[in-house]
Every structure is written in C-alpha cells, then in structure tokens.
Assembly symmetry: C2
Homo-oligomer: 223 residues x 2
DNA sequence: TACCAAGTGGAGGGTTCCCTCATCTTGTTG
DNA sequence: CAACAAGATGAGGGAACCCTCCACTTGGTA
C-alpha cells in the first residue's frame, strides 16, 4: 500500500490513509476469493471499518475495483511486452498466455475483469488497448514463423480467457495446477501443423465487445 | 407437457394440471435464459400463478429443475449411445461432443447442470452414470484407433463442458454459432497426431467430483 | 346441488445486500 | 490547546428473493 493516495489534491489524514489501505487489502482479498461481486459490507468488516467509511473512500464499487487491480494490469501489460520481444515467437506467445493465465489463476476478481467488459478508468482502458495491440503483434510473429495456425485471430484469445475463468473457478481449491493442462491442450490446438479447418468464423471485434458486455451486464458493477 | 403427473398416486385435478404445465413451461424458459438460479417468483408470475402454487407443486427448486430437465438428459444419453456404435470411432466421439454442446448451447440451465454437481434424483443420476460410462467407451475406441491422443482421460472432457458453458453465456446472444469454433479447436487439441506432452496430470475422478461440487455450492440449489 | 378435499392466492416475516445521512470523533494547524 | 474541517460511524430505508401459512376458491363426486 503506497503511503499516499493516487491523485492527491490534498494529502489524506493519517487515520484516513490507514483505513484506506486496510480497505484495499481487505478488498483485494475478498475480490480474489469471491469475485468482483463480493459483498462490500464484508470488505468493510474485514478491514475493521464501518460501511460508511468504505463508501467515503470509494463511492462506487468500480472505484474500489479499479484501485485494487491497477497493479495486476501492469503485470499483464509487462507479460505482453515480453511476448513480442522473445527471440522465438512461438515461445513468446506461449509464455504470454501462461503468464496471463497465471495472473488470473488465483484471483477470481482478475478473472472477472479479464472476461467481462466493465466501464473502467481511462488509465486501465489504455493499458488494455496496449495489451491487445501487443497480443496481436505476438500472434502475427508466430504466424509468420509458421508455428501458429493462420486461421486464428486475436479475438480467438478470449476463448482462453473465458475457459480459464470457469476452469479455475472449479479447480483452484481442489487441484490448483489443473488449468495448465487445459492451457497446453489449447496450445496444441493453436499449432499450425496439421490444423483442421474451423467451421465458424472468428468473432469480429465488435461482436467480441458485445459478448463481453453481455457477461458484464448481468453481474457486478453496472454503470 | 404430458397430461398426467409423472408418478401419480392420485390424478391431478384439471386446474392443477393446467397450472403445473404452465409452471413447467415458464420454468423451462426462465432456466434456459437465466440459469438455474432464476427467481422463482418470476417463474410463477410468468406462469400466471401465485408463488404459493409453485411451491405446492414443487416444494424445492431442485424438484422443479429435475422435472424440467429430464428430457434433456434423455437426449444427452441418446447422443452418448450413438457415439459408441458409430462406425468410425473418431467421428462418433466428435459427434457426441457436438451433440452435447448443442444441448447446452441455448440453455443456460442445462449448462449449469452439466458443469455443477447438484443433489439430483436417482433417475437422472443413473442417466449421468451411464453417460459417463459410454463416453469412456467412446474415448477408448477412438484411442485404440489411434486418432484420439492417448494421454486424454474421460475427466478431461469437463474442460469442454466448462469452457463451453462460459463461451455460450457470452456469445449466445451475439454470435450464437461461435461455440462451434471453439469446440473444433478443442477437437484439434484432442487429435493424437498433434499431441505434445501435457504439463499436469488429469483430474482424478474424486477431484472432478469435488471440483463440480465447488461450482455448485456457491450458487443455485444447495441441499 | 351441496359438500369437501384438493388446490390457490398473496400478505408477511426472514435474509442479504445495497447505499445514505445525521451525528459524533479526531487529526491537524495556527 | 482550541477549533474546525476532514473523517468515521452505524442505524435505517430500500430492493430482491426466499419460503410459509391460512383463509379462500373450486373441481369432482355422491
């Protein structure tokens, strides 16, 4: 927990800063465990603070979510940046997916964020855009190399995110490494060698956006 | 809607039968759209009946769920039976998965049922056991044939169920055929010819049961 | 056609979570 | 060490669902 608020017009009072930090810790924990719809009253109680205090610091659930997950998005971006500079494009692509899944593997909240479309802050939104751009590059490199099947589009990567999300929700408390097995099956599916034709076109960018909105709408923090 | 109740010690009164049928229709619709946790009060309203009437016919949510989905389980079983008698084992296996996904594709409730473990009636439970047994056979045949990768276990098939469940939830209203693309990617992953070693062992039968319980517990109809 | 068991309606009490606001507490600054 | 603004509190009203219970129909039958 940094000792100051992100954008501080006025520095916080000492007790306020302490509470804010406690809230973020508690929220990170609750979101990781229960997903983004974790009850805020539990978060407050866990932080040893009244519910009103939580709302004073984070007027909406989304404010809290964004602050909690900023660092994770940074890590995600870093993974994408590594992917495009890896010597071997296929290796880079694989390691990117692995890193991305790892970030989501023990965090149901991150999982939700990656698979649903929410009205996120510009800051995070920008990072997401960059991540997507880099992923596109990483894929293209691996396709040019001839290792990644050419009929795979960047939009197909949500399949990994979505699948991963269900699979970790089911297995993280029972056999926490299982998601790797699934990911490596998917990687076999992504190899160019002996790829068989696919029966349905990929999602368009717009369809993808709408699909993620679909998932987001019926659940945690509507706009 | 059959004109009689499944096990009728006494035949239902005519108005009661009518209400029961209306409830089943409304419930099928609601479960398909919203999943197994659809509000029962909506179901009752949709059926044009008071909430008390719903509870008289179906004392627990599970009673309703089971009655609604009996037919679908039958169809699922039929698909599994076809798989093991197909001339070409690989074809049989593929068609089985396709049929299974199809059954779940426009029914969020069926999706929930396939991916979570719930305390179901013996009748449905038996069907599930048979389905699992047949799927196991179908896989073995395709593996003996050399088409299906030998390191795949029956427990790995939940990956298909789980992935499919998320993917249809996201895409069914946006691009309803998309799940096929994903399924055929998975089928490529399942081919022996492209198999690369997997980094993690398959779930054991017991882990699988616990994983499905995990998914089931935090949601619709606890025992 | 009158009776009554079977069936129905829906108010109401319980739970969980949302978010607000009037009142009290406390750090900070002069 | 005041005094005051910044901050904290938590009761409370609201919404969405759950499920129960009992007074009121109503279909079938003698």
């Amino acid at each position: 927990m940094g000792p100051t608020r992100a954008n501080s017009p006025q520095p916080l009072r000492r007790d306020a800063q302490r509470n804010r930090d406690a809230l973020l810790t508690a929220a990170a924990d609750a979101f990781a465990r229960k997903g983004l719809q974790a009850p805020l009253e539990h978060v407050a109680k866990e932080a040893g603070v009244a519910i009103g205090t939580l709302y004073r610091h984070f007027p909406t659930r989304l404010d809290l979510v964004q602050t909690v997950f900023e660092k994770k998005f940074e890590a995600w971006l870093a993974a994408a940046e590594e992917a495009v500079v890896a010597e071997d494009p296929w290796e880079g692509f694989c390691r990117y997916l692995e890193a991305m899944c790892e970030l989501q593997a023990d965090d149901q909240g991150m999982n939700d964020l990656a698979s649903m479309r929410l009205p996120l802050s510009d800051c995070i939104q920008d990072r997401l855009t960059r991540i997507r751009e880099l992923a596109r590059q990483a894929m293209r490199r691996a396709q040019d190399q001839g290792t990644l099947r050419p009929d795979l589009t960047p939009e197909d990567l949500v399949f990994v995110v979505w699948s991963h999300s269900r699979i970790t929700a089911a297995t993280s408390n029972v056999a926490p490494r299982t998601w790797r097995r699934h990911l490596h099956l998917m990687l076999d599916a992504f190899r160019a060698e002996r790829a068989h034709p696919l029966p349905t076109p990929a999602l368009t960018e717009d369809e993808l956006r709408r699909a993620m909105t679909e998932l987001g709408s019926s659940t945690p923090c509507a706009e």
